[in-house]
Symmetry: D2
Subunit: 303 residues, 4 copies
């Protein structure tokens, strides 16, 4: 398949679209990004790489980091994840506390904020130097020591992330947070503030398309755990647009409000796209479109 021609074609199409959505403004530091950015990077399991646009310009990966923190937490024995979280789609926007309250502090899945905060809590308990150790993990699976947090973005979230403080305190009231609210959120805001580009994301997610082996060939997850995380990405990776993404794209994936999306076909490839304008449901508008185009043109999907 001529992937480069397909990517070029998609690039031509999306660059002609005027309505690119709206850049996330609730984290003030993110509001300054140029909405014209668009990048796309594809890496096949056979080692080929293809790209267009600003594929090597970094951005805030935000919720995409939740897959990486889940992978690291899953790799610990007796991590207790399944006692503290469910794995069901929420059917509701990503920041809804109502469901958490009704369901007695058990988050619906690890990709809604409350669930990711519980995963952060597990990592804070398990790691000696949580922020440094998590960064080292991401650098290691990506084989790229240049990856870092964007400390300004982390601080911006810390100053204004009232809903996350609300969620963490609500979890605490249900005794589903072991560490201090402040400590867990400090870790969580840094995790979300990871600054990466499309190429780095593709590499980081290689293990999910490759039965747990990352690009350095080291096995970081069992096959069973990879399958389960892929399943959660498919059912819960796109807030309340998860069904739509499965329906239109048909790949496990994860989006972030920074405008990034990563998706993958097990045993075949990982694809990352970035366009900072979001649609009404908080997913990258052109990113969604590009991935729809990609699976339509290639006829590749898990279904």
């Amino acid at each position: 398949m001529n992937y480069q021609a397909i990517l070029d074609d998609i690039y031509g199409q999306v660059m002609g679209i005027k309505d690119r959505g709206i850049v996330a403004s609730y984290i003030p530091e993110l509001a300054n990004i140029d909405i014209q950015n668009f990048g796309l990077h594809l890496k096949t399991n056979t080692g080929e790489e293809f790209s267009v646009g600003n594929y090597n310009r970094g951005f805030s990966i935000q919720s995409i980091s939740k897959v990486l923190s889940l992978a690291l937490a899953s790799s610990f024995e007796n991590n207790g994840i399944l006692n503290r979280l469910d794995v069901e789609p929420s059917g509701h926007p990503f920041n809804q506390l109502a469901l958490l309250e009704i369901e007695n502090g058990i988050p619906r899945n690890p990709f809604i904020n409350a669930g990711a905060i519980v995963i952060a809590d597990i990592l804070v308990s398990q790691l000696d130097n949580p922020k440094q150790d998590f960064l080292d993990y991401v650098r290691d699976i990506t084989n790229d020591a240049s990856i870092n947090y964007d400390f300004k973005v982390a601080q911006s979230e810390k100053d204004t992330g009232y809903r996350n403080y609300a969620a963490a305190n609500l979890l605490k009231s249900f005794r589903n947070l072991k560490n201090d609210v402040e400590t867990v959120l400090d870790f969580y805001f840094h995790q979300c503030a990871l600054h990466m580009n499309c190429e780095q994301l593709t590499k980081a997610f290689h293990m999910f398309a490759n039965r747990g082996k990352c690009i350095s060939d080291k096995t970081r997850l069992t096959e069973q755990k990879v399958k389960r995380i892929n399943a959660i990405m498919l059912t819960c990776g796109f807030y309340d647009e998860a069904g739509e993404f499965a329906f239109e794209v048909g790949l496990p994936g994860k989006s972030g409000v920074g405008g990034g999306i990563v998706a993958l076909l097990p045993d075949h490839f990982v694809i990352s796209v970035w366009s900072p304008g979001l649609n009404k449901r908080g997913n990258s508008k052109l990113g969604m479109l590009a991935l729809e185009q990609f699976t339509t043109k290639t006829q590749l999907s898990i279904f």
Copy 2:
């Protein structure tokens, strides 16, 4: 009417009841109260006073304080209350965040916690020394300088009141909190930790039965504002048991998880009761029973 005989009769009845409910345990400091306590104090507008039991033993008035903070906030010009709160019954437990989230950060009424936190925010903005000024206000309307906060209870709430932190952060995320979360909750936890006895409560609430004039004869509220606060007490004063209280007792009133209840018949009397065991809905079990008995025996109600 022979009020003393009626109170004695009620006292005899309730003291024979074995199932006195359960003392609130979510504020650790409150869990130590002796459940055998029972006090009742009645003051008529004509100046007569009647009492039984531990009517002059102090307890934590908790949510009863919300009526006093609402009264003080209402007394300021341009307080903006009605732009920031609704006055509808919530039909839900006192600590539910779901409704607050669905209704975009506008609390249902000033007596659910989120609403009382908004009122606390208004007072923090309006008062020079919020905690001292509010205490002075309560001492003044009660004409009793001995009233004070229970600082241990306030601290206990501060250490464990995660739901209130969640509510305040959620309000903040909707821009319905002007001051810092910490500052507002510090005030709020002290307000709820007012330590008063039945007699003092009866006196403090005298103005609501007396068209705004308090026991020192000073007018602290307009007649219109008194009527409105009485209406809110009737429709929202008892969490999700407000309808039941109106149905069974038929008086405006307010309860607290410390086991106190104050109720009043406009132009006639105020009655306060204290029994620390709560029913399932968080209202004093014997207190509710005593007030039902009182209105049944006296045939006095607003209906």
Copy 3:
């Protein structure tokens, strides 16, 4: 007090208002009413009567009938009402099924549609000829044999009242409806289609202001039951505007989508108003305003 002057003053005021709300259209037959109609009738317990405008033109009383059906059902021994309904405000629009489903088929109160349908079911079980017997009851308490159902309105509801069919079937699924859905709704639609004018409504509600004695001096309810129904009117009589009505008007009352409202001050008076244009919450726009004006000018309220 010069009631007639007050009514005239209110009449002058409301007739000058251009935005009269919107006539209910969901029952096709109601959509044809002239929005310019406005009537008001007041009857004191001392027997005086005052009126303005179209006080003797009939209209569809709709939900106001729920108070009369509740009164009749309450008058039976062992009616079982309190096992099948709650008496709490719903805090939600009048047609919400969600709450009914969450609360396992127990309606929040007798004035939401589901609750009134349960009351209708009780009457269908208790009465020999439900529709005729209920009509006779209303004629009797009003002392007016000319009152009748508007059969066209009843039929119109029957043809289009899908939400009421949904509610009745949901009740049936929770085994909280003893009779057939069709039979109960046929009764219910007729009950709501009672055609009465302001003067007749004032007379019908006289018993609620008069400790259970209706205008013919016959006692139809015990004092205790009257007090309880008045309490339910205050807390639940105005859909999700009940708190607002208590706050602004301060009287027990009940509204209907035909544009009628009845309110009363126990031991003093009953007042009925009719203006077919509704506000957003389904209550008569000018009717609400007129009653607010009335209690402001007279300083009469239960608070």
Copy 4:
């Protein structure tokens, strides 16, 4: 792969389990099924077939039929499905009306009852003789003229399916039902009352694993439509256990309260299982277990 050995192994395992769940009782006619039944049938795209137990004993396929009705409705041009339904997981039990009401009569997906009733409405509009034509369609794709409705089960649902009447009336109130409630539900109850065995189900679902071609080699759906229906099965096929099924089994599938489950791996196989005892969430207890075992032992899943 030695499929027969794997099936035999699973059979041995499940037959040793004592707690087989509970047979659905809400449709009286279903309550009589012997809980000891267990059948399993597998058909690969290469034409091999494997089976154990009561794989050729018929049962009521119930909600499994929703996939077949969706497939038929999808095959019509301009079917309008996507204007009248969403494709998001509901995150809630299969019979919840609350969500339907909040979301203005747009069902979350075609597999919750309300959604399947809308699909039934589309078929009633599109087909000349809806019940006969739908039955012919199922016979045709299965190449088995012996398949029929179980008329007793259909009647049983008709007599007691109050929640479905409630849902259909609620849809009607939102104008999302074009035909009569009675007509649509008559069709829907028959559709759900299809009586089929595991082998027949495997054949009927062959087209979903075979890019739209059914066993007679006729193409009944485009590849794109097949992918989309598979996606909906994965995200919405198991009520509020969809995430769990994706996580534990990792195949698109659909369950019914008759105790049947069908699942498939695109381009590889279809597998059907039947065990009438249900778990708490309404899915076949041993069926779920058998499929988990199957994908664990074969290491075959879409992830």
